[in-house]
Subunit: 214 residues, 2 copies
Amino acid sequence: MGHPKPGTTIRVLVVDDHPPMRMGLVALIKNQPGMDVVAEASDGEEAIEVYDDVRPDIALMDLRMPGMGGVEAILAIRKKHPDARVIVLSTYDLDEDIHRAIQSGAKSYLLKDMPTEEIASTIRWVFDGGDTSLPRQVAERLTERSRREQLTERERDVLEALIKGRSNKEIASSLCISEDTVKSHLKTLFAKLHVRDRTEAAVEAIRHGIVHLK
Amino acid sequence: MGHPKPGTTIRVLVVDDHPPMRMGLVALIKNQPGMDVVAEASDGEEAIEVYDDVRPDIALMDLRMPGMGGVEAILAIRKKHPDARVIVLSTYDLDEDIHRAIQSGAKSYLLKDMPTEEIASTIRWVFDGGDTSLPRQVAERLTERSRREQLTERERDVLEALIKGRSNKEIASSLCISEDTVKSHLKTLFAKLHVRDRTEAAVEAIRHGIVHLK
DNA sequence: CGTGGCGTCACCCCTTTGGGTGATAGGTGA
DNA sequence: TCACCTATCACCCAAAGGGGTGACGCCACG
């Protein structure tokens, strides 16, 4: 494979569920010399399909989309095409989102409020073989996230149930464990999130994108 | 004033803090016969200024923007120009956002995941003097909201403090009232939000856009 | 084979929370 | 003026939450 030589046109796949945003990204890219949009997709599944068909040089991908989200799409694409270069373009700079995107193999993580030139130059950078490079703001969030201890699977389960408004007793029975065990998980959960109680835990989890509402 | 005759070009102001989205909206509108973008703004303050300068027929406005948000901008614009026609274009279909937008005088509330034709046709509809008409999905949310009892000012205060993770005692001292009064407000708050406890209240408030994080 | 992380559970104990009831005072509007 | 809403506060009580400590089995990793 390798990657195309300089002078070649960069073939981009645009993935976003908002039609006007897709339109803007297409316009943005087509305005750039040496860049072209070869396909569009409006959700994760479509992105995977289309990627297979057109084999773009770069996929510019939104994260939050109905049905299959960006992270799953990136994972699926990179499983079949390990050298796929995906750049995430998100509305949110939530540390957990950034972390998940980079973990799944995204080459960069841009925000929609960034200037169009930054988007274009990142596409070029990644196409030219540039290694993962994040905007300062995004990189800062990522280190924020790294300062937070990882949650275990069970802690996540409890956290998700908590956000559904369940009491300890209800969490216990829904997870088939004792209430004392729930409390035990909560204790470590609070410590890891640096909060004092479940309400703060819920808000922090939402704020950082650790769990998504709906 | 009145509004321009048919055959005239519809002069649109585009307000959004995301450059590529702005690009898409501009492209979208310029592609429409009889429509043109006469100015752009990237936040509320700028929108108010620019509106004054260009007096567009329609302002297409995002809600969540850094600094002054869409609602405040709409209020300010309509204060000076009571016949201003503002259409909100938001990412979110949160009932409280919709309610606030319509209350503040927006003529419609569209979502960014809607097809571009719907955006164009709504602009035309509003320009032609059409009264507030909302997409089904948005209208449904709005009736959802109307089924929920209004919160009083004090209840909002308590709710906001609650979401900051404060205990009843802390809320009491921060609002300079007794803890019993806080509890009293919480009781009615829970009833109005149809929840059992503070954690649920926090999540529901965030979910419905009653309070915004950060 | 030991060490450490994870998940499980059981106590104890105190604080916080939330439900019920009711009272007072100011303000609004019919 | 009277009714109603809001904000304020008090008191009682039961339930839920949260901190501390310790323990046991399992499993992966060095």
